[in-house]
């Protein structure tokens, strides 16, 4: 910047003494005059482009990730607040269009670990993500294909003892709902009374007992009620009113999420499908985001995964979300919106996981001008205490702004299941109708780890 000293534009036919500042970058050979570029401060489109370029260079040149994040979110303007847990109708379609995500029903393909070990397969880590044989195509109901083959002898050391894990889960459930004498739940706070503590107990005991099989869990960090934030731009709009009326601005979004629990690990989860795969279409919605309804507010642009950049556990493993009382199933059934029940789970999964994976990618130095070079994978379980839905998200691209999305063929992918009950009812110290499928899926999630481990 200092190199561009005072100079004057050449008018054809006139010669002016050019004042070259010593130390200026040498112009390309054959031209005696410094490069002609747009102004920085003028009110013109070229000047705006130049300002954007300078901003991008500044962020690229930032020394540390904290500095990059600070510059990225420095300018505050009104932005849409995207809530992962929302009652808006068909919110998951909108969220998919904001985050350029493809939704694939069912769980990603991988080897069924509960198949009885065949001959040589004895001690192979069967939870490694080898592509499944084509006979079991990844269809929705077959997703937890592991559950089809009933656990034969659960005593083998190669895979976990489902009976023992089941008893742990039942103990946690019974303690929270039956054995411990608690006062009545506060008004509209049913979720904090029983399902919340149950989920905490469940995850902590399961993670502890499975840490022997998964060394990644043994090095993990468990956060209770963490904060996850992400800020991004997507699309363009014209400013409607105010002193900036008429200018073209990017549409800004911010997700501020509070999962109930999350597990962070020091090593990244392996990719599910290659970076450039195309598994479906991203919905295109022609309306403004405010029609969802989504509202704008201006406040700090935060990007946060749950702990600061200095933490060694900077990659995400699994999040657990608890749906609040406002979004319980009975309420939707009463208002005859049964199809929206699944939408709630899906929108929560997509939005939370997008925010988490994108924030993880930003912690590694990627942003929308420097797109990710490897996919970031994380998992989530969304539950209301009884019904569990599982999601797996692969972030392939961060480039969602209007300029960068033009030539970007990559899409983010989210695999998700429908919600299934873990048990039917708890009566008299017994859990009735326990569903092993859900437990198995949970165990797979917790046992997920990179191939080297």
């Amino acid at each position: 910047m200092a190199a561009l000293g005072a100079r004057r534009l050449l008018r054809p036919g006139r010669r002016w003494f050019s004042e070259t500042v010593p130390g200026a970058p040498s112009p390309p050979a054959g031209s005696l005059y410094p490069p002609v570029v747009a102004s920085i401060t003028a009110k013109s489109k070229a000047a705006k482009l130049r300002r954007l370029q300078r901003f991008n260079e500044r962020v690229h040149a930032a020394a540390t990730v904290e500095e990059k994040l600070r510059l990225y979110g420095k300018l505050q303007r009104p932005k849409y607040m995207v809530y992962p847990q929302t009652f808006a109708l068909n919110a998951d379609r909108w969220y998919r269009s904001f985050t350029k995500t493809v939704l694939v029903p069912g769980m990603p393909p991988r080897a069924a670990p509960a198949k009885p070990p065949v001959a040589a397969a004895g001690a192979t880590p069967e939870t490694s993500r080898a592509p499944e044989p084509s006979a079991e195509a990844p269809a929705a109901a077959e997703a937890s294909g592991a559950a089809k083959t009933p656990e034969p002898s659960a005593g083998a050391a190669a895979y976990p003892d489902i009976g023992e894990l089941r008893s742990l889960v039942c103990d946690a459930l019974l303690q929270e709902s039956f054995y411990q004498n608690k006062k009545r739940p506060f008004l509209y706070r049913d979720q904090d009374h029983t399902p919340g503590p149950f989920l905490t107990q469940l995850v902590s005991t399961l993670a502890a007992s499975l840490s022997g099989r998964n060394p990644l869990l043994a090095a993990s960090s468990l956060d209770l009620n963490p904060e996850v934030n992400y800020y991004w731009h997507h699309g363009k709009e014209v400013v409607v009113h105010g002193h900036r009326k008429g200018r073209v601005d990017p549409v800004r979004f911010q997700i501020d999420d509070n999962p109930h629990l999350q597990i962070r690990v020091p090593k990244q989860l392996p990719e599910v499908v290659p970076l450039e795969s195309d598994l479906g279409d991203v919905p295109v919605i022609d309306h403004k985001p405010s029609k969802l309804p989504l509202f704008k507010k201006q406040y700090e642009n935060k990007v946060f995964i749950g702990s600061k950049v200095a933490d060694p556990c900077c990659y995400g493993h699994t999040q657990f979300h608890l749906l609040p009382d406002k979004l319980k199933r009975e309420r939707f059934i009463r208002e005859r919106l049964e199809d929206q029940i699944e939408v709630v789970y899906r929108s929560n999964g997509i939005a939370s996981l997008f925010a988490w994976t994108a924030a993880q990618a930003m912690y590694q130095g990627f942003w929308n001008e420097a797109d990710v070079t490897r996919p970031f994978v994380s998992q989530a379980v969304v539950t209301d205490g009884k019904y569990f839905a599982f999601f797996c998200y692969q972030l392939n691209t961060l480039a969602l702004t209007a300029e960068t999305i033009k030539d970007n063929p990559r899409k983010n992918i989210c695999w998700g299941t429908d919600s299934k009950p873990l048990y039917d009812v708890v009566e008299d110290g017994n859990v009735k109708g326990f569903n092993d499928e859900v437990l198995l899926q949970l165990v797979h999630f917790l046992l997920n780890r990179p191939k080297e481990l």
Partner: protein
């Protein structure tokens, strides 16, 4: 008025022993546990709770005290990979405890939310040998003449003598043995927090209450010397200072002042780290205190882990 532990000792008919009991100390010194690698993780956990947990500059005590506790318990729970019987433990939050007893014709009662309780299926074996228990007969309880021992206690009319930890859990609960009580002093304002001495007294009273309720549930309500003493541990912290306590209930005969006494081992004021600096302190352009955790004491964490593992190792 004067140190709370001495008063609590009189009220619960207890003899105090400084330091941790030899059984727990042997777990600390046991090299087979691999406590060295855990030091690194413990340091990370302290940094996480004190420095990295929040998007603001520094987390407040209400946030970092429970977070530190959860992190340390997480590391301890992960040890269940090596010791599978550790999975037979369950944490219960917000337990209400109620226990009543008579002490030289004064009726005393312990009631209230007793912090976080960890239950296990199997009881902890008695820590003191029979000779030590009998030796407490000679010990004379310190009296505070002319101050009445019930000074600073709230006098309340009791209409129902409530008596069990069964108040907290129903019958048939599989994790029936109280193992450890955790007390977190996490109020932001210093005057809302208990001072270390008062915290120790509170720990003693609640551990006694839990042990008494358990003993009465097991052996009935008659006051007598217990064949199988009941052991309850207790850990209290304010995020930096840790107080460790092991309480052994030898007798429920609390009316008289002589006879066998109960025993308590207290290891007090253990610092886990000296200082946690979120932002480096700079005086006259020179960094005097760099950011990070300084003065980390692995021994305190080892004691925490040893108390957790006690009973299964």
């Amino acid at each position: 008025v004067f140190p709370g532990v001495r008063q609590a000792q009189w009220l619960t008919k207890t003899k105090l022993v400084e330091g941790l009991p030899p059984a727990v100390q042997s777990i600390v010194d046991n090299p087979a546990l691999g406590l060295q690698e855990l030091e690194e993780r413990a340091k990370h956990m302290v940094s996480h709770a004190r420095l990295w947990d929040t998007a603001e500059v520094a987390p407040r005590r209400e946030r970092y005290c429970p977070m530190l506790f959860e992190n340390l318990i997480h590391i301890c729970r992960l040890m269940s990979a090596k010791y599978p019987s550790l999975s037979k433990r369950m944490l219960a939050r917000n337990c209400r405890i109620a226990a009543t007893w008579e002490r030289e014709s004064i009726l005393l009662q312990v009631r209230g939310l007793s912090g976080i309780l960890m239950n296990s299926m199997t009881p902890i074996a008695p820590v003191a040998s029979k000779e030590e228990i009998l030796a407490t007969k000679e010990h004379v309880l310190e009296t505070f003449y002319p101050i009445a021992p019930t000074i600073d206690l709230q006098e309340v009319k009791v209409y129902k003598e409530l008596n069990d930890t069964g108040q907290c859990f129903r019958d048939g609960y599989p994790y029936s043995q109280p193992h450890t009580l955790f007390f977190l002093e996490s109020a932001n304002v210093r005057t809302d927090r208990f001072r270390p001495e008062q915290l120790r007294a509170k720990m003693l009273m609640f551990a006694f209450g839990n042990a008494l309720a358990k003993a009465r549930a097991l052996h009935g309500n008659d006051p007598k010397v217990l064949e199988q003493p009941v052991v309850v541990q207790s850990i209290g912290t304010d995020g930096q200072l840790f107080q460790f306590m092991v309480f052994q209930l030898n007798t429920t005969d609390l009316v008289s002042n002589d006879g066998v006494k109960n025993l308590v081992w207290i290891d007090s004021d253990q610092n886990l780290y000296e200082r946690a600096q979120c932002v480096p302190e700079v005086k006259k352009r020179v960094v005097t205190k760099p950011a990070g955790i300084s003065g980390f004491q692995p021994d305190t964490f080892k004691k925490f882990l040893a108390l957790y593992l006690h009973g299964t190792v």
